[in-house]
């Protein structure tokens, strides 16, 4: 039992047990991505400041990017593939691009919201509630 596997159901232990011993592979990247993703979600759920929520979104997106890149690793690809093996990286670039655009729109919304309500507390932003 190690730190990593503590608290997990006993059936899950074999899944993680080998990670610390094995050389760095895809699984490790996936773990990093998952940590990033979870941090982002927690950030989105807990922060009341709109900018904090946006940061959480960036974290989630980056967690996803790590996964894309990890899955495009040569270890996971079969031999003889005709592709360049850069699919994951390309999609990650695309996501970064989208994230930039999304951040611009989201910041614009936030700015407008601030103009109207003099605050960026998203708990105040319940005008569209049912």
């Amino acid at each position: 039992m190690n730190l990593l596997t503590a608290g997990l159901p006993s059936t899950a232990i074999p899944l993680f047990a080998g990670l610390l011993d094995a050389p760095v592979g895809v699984a490790h990247y996936l773990v990093v991505g998952a940590i990033l993703f979870t941090s982002g979600v927690v950030c989105m759920a807990l922060k009341r400041n709109a900018l904090g929520v946006l940061m959480g979104i960036e974290l989630v997106l980056n967690g996803a990017n790590v996964n894309f890149v990890a899955f495009s690793s040569p270890y996971l690809r079969g031999e003889g593939s005709a592709s360049l093996g850069l699919d994951g990286q390309l999609i990650a670039l695309f996501v970064i691009l989208l994230a930039a655009a999304e951040a611009a729109v989201a910041l614009a919304i936030t700015l407008n919201f601030y103009n109207n309500h003099a605050t960026v507390d998203i708990d105040q932003a319940d005008d569209l509630k049912g």
């Binding site: 059936t11 759920a45 929520v53 998203i122 708990d123 319940d126 569209l128 509630k129 049912g130």
Partner: protein, 824 residues
Amino acid sequence: MDLASQLPMLLGLAWLAPLVSFVAILFFGPRMGHHGKNAAWVATAAIVTSLGLSLAAFGIWLTAHPVTAVSHDSHGAAVDGHAADSHDANEHESHGNEANADHGDHADHSGQHAAVVPAAYSGDWYTLYQGGSLRLSIGWYIDALTVMMFVVVTFIATCIHVYASGYMHDELHDVTDHEVHLSDGGHLHRPGRFPRFFQALSLFCFSMLGILIAGNLAMVFIFWELVGICSWFLIGFYFERKSASTAANKAFIVNRVGDFGMLIGLMALWGALGTLHFADSPAAGAGGQTAPGLFSLVRPAESGHALQVPDGMVKFANASGVSQIALDNASRPGDGANEIASRIRDWRSEGYGRWLLFIAGVGIFCGCVGKSAQFPLFVWLPDAMEGPTPVSALVHSATMVAAGVYLVGRFYPVLTPDVLLVIAVIGGITLFIAATIALVANDIKRVLAYSTVSQLGYMMLALGVGGWSAGLFHLVTHAFFKSLLFLCSGSVIHACHTNDMRKMGGLARVMPWTAGTMLVGCLAIIGAGIPFVIGLSGYYSKDAILAQALSYSQANPSWSILFYAVAGGAFLTAFYMFRLWFMTFAGAPRDHHIADHAHESPNVMVVPLVALSVLAIVAGWTLPGGFGLANLLEQARPAGTAATMSDSFLFGNLTVPAEHLSHEGAIHVTATLTAFTTAAAGVLLAAMMYLWRIISPEMVASVFRPIYSFLANRWYFDELYNAIFVRPVFAVASLASGTDRGVIDRLIDGIAWSARQLAGFDAWIDRNLVDGLVNATATATWNAGLELKKLQTGRLRQYVMFIVIGTVALFVLASMLFRAALAG
């Protein structure tokens, strides 16, 4: 163009001109000048056009058929041209075995020389319906009578149009009718109706000319009804007045009674003979043959135009015999037809079809009784005087009421001696009753109205006793002097603003022209003249009637009362006409207020009076060389009616003497002297009572109180008809209305009530069950929506939590569900 195509064209255009005026005024009347002032010009222009065309036709007629002095010999010319020559030989043969040939021969032989030119033209403009031998069409039948009547009617109508354009000037601005009392105590105030008057007058002229030109009885009937409706329009011109609208309805309804009889007559002819055309129609029958008209069916040329029951009526009356023969010869239809044809002569001598011919004649006469105001349907005419005076003059004295006499004259060849006797008796009764009522009437127009009824009785009687030309001669002369008298009375009423003769008197000084022309009219109607030398128009026509009545009563001694009716009527006529004239114009004014305000009428009214009075004087004259109305009429004499007719059927043995016999010495002298004596006695008596005041009228009235009140109440005819017809009709009507309200309405109300109850129950189910279900569904949906709404909190972080929890939950679920799979 020959005569046969010129005459229909000229008279047809003369007939249609007033129709054009009617349509124009109907659509554009109110826009014709100020308050439609120019409508009078339009209508007058139309009728003047008609007069011009009629005169042109008259001129053409006279050129082709010169009027000669030997009048009654030319009757053979009335045969339709296409048959004129072919039957001459037959006439000679048939005369030998005719009972009445002794009088007819003389006339017939000389008639054959004149029979070269046809004296009647007939044809069809337009066929409305043709099925088998039945044919309805708009056509013409033109003979001397038609042409003459066209001239008379259009001339009088022209005079009256001119007169009316002056008389009706009150209608050119808003009118306050002082005879209509409104519920608020005021008088009716209404816009003037000047164009409307001339519109109706034009329609009337069109309809009247339509009757004159009609080539068949169906067309006569159409225009017969049209003049009826025009009369209704014109009597009811002041329709806001209760009396006027009642009089209009009375005239119309009473005429319907007569027209019902006319319809029966039409059906008898149509059903039995299959034609209503007067004259033969070439190439209209089966296989392009000549379709015989009524005249040649009833008076076939083969038998010298002697009256006989037509084959069609014999077969119709003996339908059982015909069908028996047809059944016996069912296998050989040709033989059956031949046998029927051969037995018709026997059947005819057995009397089959005589009733049918009698009913046809009496039926047609019934229509004439209504239109010409004969007993017992004369009650409408005096009331018709509610209309404006020009209408009384044109419609209700000179032309429309004469249409009945005209139709009897036109239909004359078909009438049997029995029908003629009915006509004569009705005419006699009418002339006597009307004349007695006129003796005591005080309303100037009513005196003239009863005088009209009485004179129409004269005409009918004349026709009935065989005086074909005497009756129609009197029709023409009467048209002139009676319209003159009415226009004079209109002039008097215009000046005095009252109809009551008791308030007049001494008007001759202020209205010399009216007084003079009315004197001419009175002298004409009583038949004044120097015996055997010269006289006014009435002198000739009345003498002819008296002579014919005398001739008839000599031939049928049991009916000599007809002659006494005529002679007595002449006396009464003279009395009441001069009573009217003396009361109105002579002596001292009875009411100074009226006399001071009276004035002579404007020229536009006086000129027609003078024109008509000239004609009232000269219309009866026969110029040297034989030109005159009486001789002109002889040209139109229906074929075969110049001969003496004998028959015995319903009323014993009747002899209708030939008319030319009445021109002979003894009869003529007696008749003329009787006429002169009775008329002079009447005038003398009137002068003694109303001019010289030797006999006091009041004293006479009080001595003969019962008779006086009987006459003053018009023989209680209105009361009688009220009791016999009007009240029972009202009783039946109220019974029917009671049944309607009490039974039928109750039933319907009950059904409606049940339907309403049922509908109420349905409505309850709909509201509570159906609507409840639908509403419950809607409410549930609404509430669900309200609940779900609460989920939408608008808190972003909460949403994220939901997403996370949901995702985790999905993973947990998936891992639990697929544990086995994951475990390997």
